[in-house]
């Protein structure tokens, strides 16, 4: 019961925050000087055509009225037409979000599967060479912007040694019908292992480029959490009982420190969603982030607002899910205060 209630509470709070986000981004988008209608119509448009477009986009209304109209449309699932793609923004978001989510989720998976063990090793050998090595590597991973990683990986693994594809989500010669928009799922649903392998092959390099700084971050956090747990009585007890170091590390230090690590990884989702903007551009990945860059460069107001909204919503939902997972893993948290 309390989990359910808590979940509802979080959902409600997130909705309020999202409305706030919509106001923030909408007002920023509208107070900026410039004429989106003229940009949309291209250079040879006459003034009359521009005026006609302004009228159609409600650009001549007062800003509060514009926001009201915008929210009304939003409730109906209408975010307006994108000047960049000439299609409804909603169509674009629905089409491009899965590609980005697939990338971000795989990156998140890599982050957990590589980052946590690295952190655990580091803590286990605290102060010795494996620790120092992991610390330097993870700090390096955190210190390079995602685009530097992406460019470096492309250069090494796609140009110099062509092990991976440079662009695209699946081989040109394969056709897979879209069901969910997640290539890995759609190929499996079609029962096509060759296509699945191709999709995975295309995903690995961009996902790894995206994951690298997260891997560093996760390793660092896991290390410090585990070190904190190492200093707790349970471990000292286990050590006194003469349990093997490996068993202590796994059982008594790693598991409890998993929870705080997971929480932070939830927050790190924001970094993944942000860095996807850089990685998708480099790999020409047909996702929402590349779309985001395109619409931002083109001052496509409707699409900028829509993209920011959907990314924030994704981020909020991801955090609710992580929160839920953590409270399932650790019943004590259910009854503790919400404030972190």
């Amino acid at each position: 019961m309390s989990i359910f209630r808590r979940l509802l509470g979080r959902l409600g709070a997130s909705l309020i925050v999202l409305i706030g986000v919509s106001m923030l981004i909408f007002f920023i988008a509208r107070i900026i000087p410039g004429d989106p209608a003229r940009i949309a119509l291209g250079p040879r448009a006459t003034d009359a055509q521009v005026e006609q477009m302004r009228e159609a986009l409600n650009l001549n209304e007062p800003i509060v009225v514009q926001y009201g109209l915008f929210m009304g449309d939003l409730v109906r699932g209408d975010l307006g037409i994108s000047l960049y793609s000439n299609r409804p923004v909603m169509t674009d978001l629905v089409e491009y979000l899965p590609a980005t989510l697939e990338l971000v989720l795989l990156a998140g998976f890599m982050m957990v599967m590589i980052g946590l063990p690295l952190g655990a090793i580091s803590a286990r050998y605290r102060g010795r060479w494996p620790d120092n090595l992991v610390r330097v590597i993870s700090l390096l991973a955190v210190s390079a912007p995602a685009f530097v990683w992406a460019v470096g990986l492309v250069l090494v693994f796609a140009y110099f040694t062509p092990l991976f594809p440079i662009t695209g989500r699946i081989s040109d010669t394969l056709e897979v019908e879209r069901l969910t928009g997640f290539m890995l799922i759609d190929t499996l649903a079609a029962g096509r292992l060759d296509a699945f392998a191709s999709a995975l092959h295309h995903l690995i390099l961009p996902a790894f480029a995206l994951a690298l700084s997260g891997i560093g971050q996760a390793a660092r956090l896991t290390r410090s959490n585990m070190i904190a747990t190492y200093e707790q009585p349970a471990i000292e007890m286990a050590q006194a009982y003469g349990f093997s170091e490996a068993r202590i590390a796994r059982r008594y230090a790693f598991k409890p420190s998993l929870i705080p690590s997971l929480t932070i990884i939830g927050l790190d989702f924001a970094a993944l969603l942000g860095n996807a903007f850089l990685v998708e551009v480099i790999f020409a990945w047909p996702g929402l982030s590349r779309y985001g860059v395109g619409v931002i460069l083109q001052k496509d107001l409707n699409a900028i607002v829509g993209t920011v909204l959907i990314i924030s919503a994704t981020f909020l939902i991801a955090n609710i899910i992580v929160d839920f997972l953590v409270s399932v893993l650790n019943p004590r948290i259910r009854f503790s205060e919400d404030n972190k």
Binding site: G34, R44, I166
Partner: protein
């Protein structure tokens, strides 16, 4: 990659179908790319990619004349011009991809749709046409408000859509605008298989077409968008890409050529103009403008456009009108750098260069242009000007240039004639009635020129028009609203084994930019 959204609605049948899906056995495939997002609704077409899509998916009454200038018959077999009345006779053997026959009613409807939507190339016809009437299945009559000589040429920008299909997909009187941005309803030699505006458009060959394809025409075309130059470079050397866009930096073209790619160029009635803001001091003084034009280093500019020993993406320009357009005049001298003349003009200029900052902008998305801007800075500083260079993103620049008093002093821009008529270039760039926009970013106001341009619109005799435009060209060369840097030749890298016939042979080349990329005129090898 085929990633089709349309079929998701079919639910379970889709599952059954995909289980049976197998690798496509496309024998011949063409992969080309463009930087910009592609728009497939012909009524919204504006840029190069849109043009390429429009000519392959749709047909127009007339087409730019192969190996020459002006227009040639296409859907229209013949036409009669009587003052302001144009009567076109259509081919009777053309069907749309839907199977519907293409009739005069479709032509009238297409025109109505384009004008009602008011986007894309509709401005070529704004205020020009009084009525369009289908007087028979194969006869359509355009009645103009007054005689308008560029009208026939403008029709290369009026693709004909399938009225029945468009009407069937119309929602709330939107002229099927949403649907048409996702599907094609044309009579073209290719038909849309899937379309994703930021990734690629996939098209399939349509056998039932009224023109013959070349030997080895592609059965499938993937027209890709937004690839980085380095990506195109790598894809081509892996044999995964066939024709590059024309926007690669010269170094990348050269690298591709070294690896065996063929380089071809498309003149496309385009000029590279350094537009000077004639509404802002010190460039509102013609002597200052001339000083800049004489001081400009045309030779270095030519060197910068040189890709390798054989191929260049530019050629010298005589005045404002590129070769192939009426009024082009080889007598108008190529400008060349002459510092003595430049100093002489500068002395006549009412302004002291030291007191005026020259604000030179180049488009952020075309970083190779920084070189031209840097060159200007180097030269003009020696003349005492204080030159400031800014890299401005395209979206911002299009805004800045709408306010002449604050717009940059100099903007480097490539402009192509929209139709094979000089009017589509000169009127848009220099007539004083034109709104401030990047095409008209020299904001030139010259009553004499206006009169000539207006006269050329009414005059229907070609020789007379040639004279009028030659006069206009002479005025422009005197008044230098722009520095006519060079004629732009769009270069394309073509993979070994692929032949881009229309650009390989001048006799096959269409004059307008983009109109050469008829996919069925390109030979590709069988896929391995």
């Amino acid at each position: 990659m085929l990633f089709n959204t349309k079929t998701t609605l079919l639910g379970t049948t889709v599952l059954a179908m995909t289980l049976a899906a197998a690798p496509v056995a496309a024998e011949r495939i063409l992969r080309a790319d463009e930087v910009a997002v592609g728009e497939i609704d012909p009524a919204k077409a504006t840029d190069y990619a849109d043009t390429v899509l429009a000519i392959n998916l749709y047909d127009t009454l007339v087409y730019p004349k192969q190996g020459g200038s002006g227009v040639q018959p296409h859907l229209a077999t013949e036409w009669a011009i009587d003052g302001a009345t144009y009567t076109f006779t259509l081919r009777d053997d053309v069907t749309f991809n839907s199977g519907n026959p293409l009739t005069a009613a479709d032509v009238a409807y297409s025109f109505e749709r384009m004008m009602a939507m008011g986007q894309g190339n509709s401005n070529l016809f704004a205020g020009v046409v009084d009525s369009v009437e289908a007087t028979g299945d194969n006869t359509v009559v355009f009645t103009l408000t007054e005689p308008f000589a560029p009208f026939l040429a403008s029709l290369v920008r009026m693709p004909v859509v399938d009225m029945a299909v468009v009407k069937a997909n119309e929602v709330d009187g939107d002229w099927a605008s949403t649907w048409m941005s996702q599907n094609s309803a044309g009579s073209g030699q290719y038909v849309i298989t899937s379309h994703d505006p930021q990734t690629e458009t996939v098209m399939a060959y349509e056998a039932d077409y009224f023109m013959e394809p070349v030997e080895g025409y592609p059965e499938t075309v993937r027209y890709r968008y937004g690839l980085e130059p380095s990506t195109v470079r790598a894809l081509m050397s892996r044999g995964e890409h066939d024709i590059s866009s024309q926007w690669l930096p010269p170094e990348v073209f050269a690298g591709l050529a070294e690896e065996g790619a063929t380089l071809v160029t498309e003149a496309g009635l385009s000029g590279e103009y350094f537009k000077m803001n004639t509404q802002r001091a010190p460039l509102d003084d013609v002597h200052c403008r001339r000083a800049l034009a004489y001081a400009f280093d045309y030779a270095t500019m030519a060197q910068l456009t040189q890709i390798n020993d054989e191929v260049s993406s530019g050629r010298p320009m005589n005045g404002a009108i590129p070769q192939g357009l009426l009024g082009y005049d080889a007598i108008v001298p190529n400008f060349s750098q002459d510092m003595a003349l430049a100093q002489e003009e500068l002395a006549k200029c009412a302004y002291d260069p030291a007191e005026h900052l020259l604000d030179v902008a180049f488009i952020a998305e075309t970083p190779a242009r920084e070189r031209g801007a840097l060159m200007m800075q180097a030269i003009y500083s020696t003349m005492g000007f204080n030159v400031e260079i800014t890299r401005t993103p395209w979206a911002l620049l299009t805004e800045q240039v709408t306010a002449p008093p604050t717009a940059p002093h100099v903007v480097e821009i490539a402009v192509s004639a929209a139709s094979p008529d000089t009017d589509s270039l000169l009127y848009a760039m220099y007539h004083s009635s034109q709104p401030a926009s990047w095409i008209a970013s020299s904001y030139f106001k010259n009553p004499e020129l206006d009169a000539l341009l207006d006269q050329a619109r009414i005059e229907t005799d070609q020789d007379a028009r040639q004279d009028i435009y030659a006069q206009a060209n002479a005025i422009l060369a005197q008044e230098v609203p722009d520095i006519f840097a060079y004629e732009l030749l769009g270069a394309f890298a073509v993979r070994e084994g692929v032949t881009f016939h229309n650009l390989a042979d001048p006799a096959l080349t269409y004059p307008n930019s983009g109109f050469n990329m008829r996919f069925a005129d390109i030979s590709v090898p069988e896929a391995e």
